[in-house]
């Protein structure tokens, strides 16, 4: 048994889980269970939102440590499901590392929904929530259009690898700008309803929920980090909106 390879596999799974949207507790628990399925004297795992460190002490031999730095998240619950499945399988069957590596490569390659599907989903979200918060049907349609544009914008900005604050500021500003423009030309009625729909699209809901779960689970550092991250993004969204509103002379809420 090559413990270095085992550790690499376990960390690959942990890293992918964290990127795909798992809570810290789940990542630590999965990595611990995976390595503990083999003859391990001791495993120490420390995870925060941007880093995983694992030190493994085999029954015989020197301890090994590996670290992963996580720079970017991409929520993919289907991948998370498969990873969860794989880690359960590993604990039960204890397969060799070649098999695990092959499975990880397969999960890594799982394709996300096509861009057009994601654009349509974004339009659906923005349009739905505009109507949800009391907007008229035409406002919903405008909101859906803006939602589609915002998703394309997010996609384009992601390619440039700019930071999340700037990207959210731009998206929120562009969404607000188009909303104001549509209302000015008389196509839309209620600018606030159109913007609310798009805020629901941008809001870091998953980060906020996971941060609370981390905090209560006792992962205080990770929870605080995620909470700050969510707060900063929310502020960026507010900033983009406020910037545009001031240009257009404020809104009557």
């Amino acid at each position: 048994m090559d413990y270095n390879e085992l550790l690499t596999c376990a960390l690959d799974i942990g890293e992918l889980m964290l990127i795909s949207g798992a809570e810290i507790g789940r990542v630590e628990d999965s990595v611990k269970r995976i390595v503990s399925a083999y003859d391990i004297a001791r495993a120490d795992i420390f995870t925060i939102t941007s880093n995983i460190v694992v030190t493994l002490t085999p029954e015989s031999g020197a301890p090994i440590t590996q670290t992963r730095r996580i720079l970017k998240y991409e929520t993919d619950l289907e991948k998370l499901h498969s990873l969860n499945h794989l880690s359960r399988y590993i604990c039960r069957v204890k397969p060799d590392t070649d098999y695990i590596a092959k499975e990880i490569a397969r999960i890594r390659k799982m394709a996300p929904h096509k861009l057009i599907t994601q654009v349509a989903a974004s339009a659906l979200i923005a349009g739905s929530f505009t109507i949800f918060f009391g907007g008229k049907f035409t406002d919903g349609l405008i909101s859906a259009l803006i939602g589609a544009i915002v998703k394309l914008l997010v996609y384009a900005i992601d390619k440039t690898q700019v930071n999340a604050v700037f990207s959210n500021l731009i998206c929120s500003a562009v969404a607000s700008l188009i909303a104001f423009a549509f209302v000015r030309i008389g196509a839309g009625q209620d600018v606030s309803k159109i913007i609310i729909g798009n805020i629901m699209l941008l809001i870091p809901g998953i980060a906020l929920t996971n941060s609370m779960r981390d905090l209560i689970n006792g992962d205080i550092i990770a929870g605080t980090l995620r909470l700050c991250e969510a707060a900063v993004i929310a502020l960026a969204i507010a900033g983009g909106f406020i910037l545009v509103s001031l240009l257009f002379g404020g809104v009557a809420a």
Binding site: L124, S128, M200, M212, A238
Partner: protein, 148 residues
């Protein structure tokens, strides 16, 4: 009528997010159905209680139980269903109002609005965490019971 429209659009919004979170097949449907459930229950609790945070809390409790149960049946992380299900409960409207208040010069109105948004987010989180914690206890008990 407006309640019906809200429940329908809440469902569609959750469906959209389930797609953005890359769910497929029946998991996609169950996650979106959670959105339908969360807002229906929010409105239902509104008939009995006059407190918005309490409605948020109870609805979050119900929808987390729903997600936990489904997750155990379909052998998948709770997040799979929970994340999309709570989408209609995310206080985006309240947050927007707070943002508008930030543009006003009246600071007291702004802080009041911000506190309101915060209380809703907190109630939502408290509901989720309350159920997760209880589930954890149940898990520990059943595992140690099986070991005997």
């Amino acid at each position: 009528m407006s309640a019906f429209v809200q429940i329908l659009t809440g469902f569609l919004g959750s469906l959209g997010f389930s797609v953005l979170f890359q769910l497929r097949g029946k998991k996609l449907f169950f996650a979106a159905f959670g959105g339908f459930l969360s807002w229906s229950l929010y409105l239902l609790f509104g008939l009995f209680f006059q407190s918005e945070p309490l409605q948020y809390f109870l609805s979050a409790v119900a929808v987390t139980i729903y997600s936990e149960i489904l997750a155990r049946i379909l052998k998948t992380p709770t997040s799979t269903f929970l994340v999309s299900s709570i989408v209609p409960l995310i206080p985006g409207g309240a947050l927007y109002n707070t943002m508008c208040r930030a543009l006003d010069t009246d600071f007291t109105v702004f802080t009041e609005s911000a506190a309101h948004t915060g209380s809703l987010a907190l109630s939502l989180a408290a509901g989720i965490v309350a159920v997760s914690s209880v589930m954890k206890i149940i898990n520990t008990v059943t595992v140690s019971f099986k070991k005997r």
